[in-house]
């Protein structure tokens, strides 16, 4: 990876015939040009890679150039004029997607790689390989891995759905019935844990996406069991359990029937929505112990509970749905602002709060693996749908269409490292 030291040259967005991708901080994002891709499925792969790099918000994707750039040899003087700091050249054979990334300033190959790819262009596995290639290209150019080769789980119409980050391959992974809520990914992407309604309470399930089999956790078989979260190492689940005396957080092995261990002592209050710090040693969670919901932090052994969000007196205070960024620096949450919920972040270091949304009611933020993008639920178009927000630029796009969607969760990278 690189040192595209000199970021892209100052870009002239008025150059005729050239559209520069969304550009919030000119001069700080390298321009990238993806050359047309030959071979079966090449057009589709070209479109996907361009869109993935655009959605990543880390580069300016230069589009609208179809000719004269050179297939065999990259025309460096020309692409430099177009504002490209990097050029992506790819070719498809029935078994492989071959990619070369060029460093325009140094006029040489920056990185090259072969991706094994299924023979059927367009199917879900084929598309995931292309997304993986996009993420690798981004890493080669910027040093940060992309988030295209991930999936997002959510609730729609009483079922858990999953979708790719570009909205493709949206499909249910549970049957109707049971009212599943709060899906959360295992770090491997193979399992989802979630809650569902049972006759005498709410239970936690672990669904194996590979086999389709689901298993209910048995550690606390009655009462309310909700908002499960896998630990970063994938071995444990922390969830909320309560019967008649409030709800507290409990830790249980994810893949055995060992008993649960209580973490929080809420004295009859609500303590729910745990989210792990990336090192697995702490949790952020929502608690009503002060009289209204606020976000707290506690060690995984229950020690040192601490209010994270700044406490304020007043009737309108309500902060919930924390989600710890994978880089450990921020906790995103929902906060009521003038009667409507908005997405905010708070920095662990200095507790600086930022409000990221203002349009409609916005809830349940969940970080992407890049600690930069968030998926959240918003009613800004009428019914609740999922949107993806770049926390750096504020750029927002709608992810889901169709029936109302909510309670999303973003997987870790499903691509090859």
């Amino acid at each position: 990876m690189i040192a595209l030291a000199a970021p892209a040259m100052a870009q002239d967005t008025t150059r005729q015939g050239v559209h520069i991708g969304l550009n919030y901080q000119p001069g700080t994002k390298p321009g990238v040009l993806v050359l047309p891709i030959a071979g079966a499925g090449g057009d589709s792969a070209h479109t996907i890679i361009q869109r993935d790099l655009d959605f990543a918000d880390a580069m300016n994707v230069i589009t609208g150039i179809d000719q004269g750039i050179g297939d065999a040899a990259v025309n460096f003087p020309l692409v430099e004029k177009l504002g490209a700091a990097a050029v992506v050249q790819a070719s498809l054979t029935p078994a492989s997607l071959h990619i070369i990334v060029y460093d325009v300033a140094k006029k040489r190959v920056l990185a090259t790689r072969d991706f094994a790819i299924p023979a059927t262009p367009g199917n879900a596995d084929w598309r995931m390989v292309v997304h993986d290639a996009s993420d690798w290209v981004q890493q080669a150019i910027t040093g940060s891995r992309g988030i295209a080769a991930t999936r997002i789980a959510f609730i729609r119409d009483g079922q858990i759905y999953i979708t790719d980050t570009d909205g493709a391959d949206t499909r249910p992974v549970t049957q109707k019935g049971g009212g599943p809520l709060s899906p959360q990914w295992h770090p491997t992407g193979r399992y989802l844990t979630y809650s569902f309604f049972a006759p005498r309470g709410t239970q936690i399930a672990v669904l194996d996406l590979t086999t389709g089999g689901a298993r209910a956790l048995s550690a606390t078989p009655t009462g309310l069991n909700s908002t499960p979260a896998f630990s970063p190492d994938g071995n444990s689940i922390v969830y909320t359990h309560g019967d008649e005396d409030g709800t507290d957080l409990y830790l249980v092995p994810a893949f055995s029937s060992d008993p649960a261990r209580r973490i929080t002592v809420g004295h009859g209050t609500d303590n729910t929505q745990p989210t792990f710090s990336p090192d697995g040693r702490r949790l952020a969670f929502t608690s009503g112990r002060s009289g209204h919901p606020e976000v707290y932090i506690v060690n995984i052994d229950g020690t040192e509970p601490d209010l994270l969000t700044p406490f304020q007196f007043g009737d309108d205070i309500y902060r919930a749905s924390p989600n710890w960024s994978p880089d450990g620096r921020l906790v995103a949450f929902e906060s009521r602002v003038n009667g409507r919920f908005q997405i905010e972040t708070i920095a662990l270091r200095d507790r600086t709060v930022r409000q990221l949304t203002s349009d409609g009611i916005n809830e349940d933020p969940k970080w992407a693996p890049d600690s930069r993008h968030l998926v959240f639920t918003s009613n800004r178009t009428g019914v609740r749908q999922l949107f993806i927000l770049d926390s750096e630029s504020g750029r927002t796009r709608q992810l889901t269409l169709g029936g109302p969607a909510r309670l999303s969760a973003w997987s870790r990278s499903l691509g090859s490292p």
């Binding site: 809520l181 309310l224 409030g246 729910t272």
Partner: protein
């Protein structure tokens, strides 16, 4: 058919009505009519009138009984409402719960499920916990008034099962509620003695 046998069959009919009405759980079963060995026309008229009176009275009693059972049942399932983001039982809620206590005491075979619900504002997940506290609050009130805790299940549906759609305090206030479902023993509801 002779006169005597016609009267006898009328009496049997009247007796059958009484028996039929005695089957319902009336507090004091009407006494069986005395046999009428010496029958004259006046006594027959009286007897017929009496039988009709008893039948009417039994029917009225049946209606009273049915109404009392219906009232008890509706007390038992009457909803308790809550303030926003609160799980405290209000004075109005206490009155509604107070009316359930005698029904539960009189019918020890009844088991109920308290279902806590929330309005749609706020976090869906936090609302599950809030609904649990609302259901637990009603259960605690009932057990504090002598009802065996083992007869009361609780569950939270959070904001997942609204009874009123849409936004606004009208809908919200209807949705912030405990519902009470009879899960066993509700078929032969007895009414507390007045």
């Amino acid at each position: 058919m002779s006169r005597r046998s016609r009267v006898a069959s009328l009496l049997i009919l009247a007796g059958a009505v009484v028996v039929a009405c005695a089957k319902s759980p009336a507090p004091a079963p009407a006494p069986a009519p005395a046999a009428a060995p010496a029958v004259d026309s006046t006594r027959i008229r009286d007897s017929l009138a009496n039988a009709k009176r008893m039948a009417d009275s039994a029917s009225a009693e049946r209606e009273r009984q049915a109404a009392a059972v219906a009232a008890a049942r509706s007390s038992l399932v009457a909803k308790v409402f809550f303030d926003y983001d609160k799980a405290d039982i209000t004075d109005q809620g206490k009155a509604i719960l107070d009316a359930k206590v005698p029904v539960l005491s009189t019918n020890p075979g009844i088991r109920i499920r308290v279902e806590g619900n929330c309005d749609r504002r706020g976090s869906d997940e936090y609302n599950l916990a809030l609904g649990q506290r609302r259901a637990a609050a009603a259960k605690r009130y009932l057990t504090d008034h002598g009802i065996d805790a083992a007869r009361i299940d609780i569950i939270s549906y959070g904001a997942e099962r609204p009874v009123a759609e849409g936004d606004g305090e009208d809908a919200y206030s209807q949705n912030r509620r405990d519902e009470f479902a009879i899960v066993a023993g509700g078929d032969n509801l007895k009414v507390a003695a007045q």
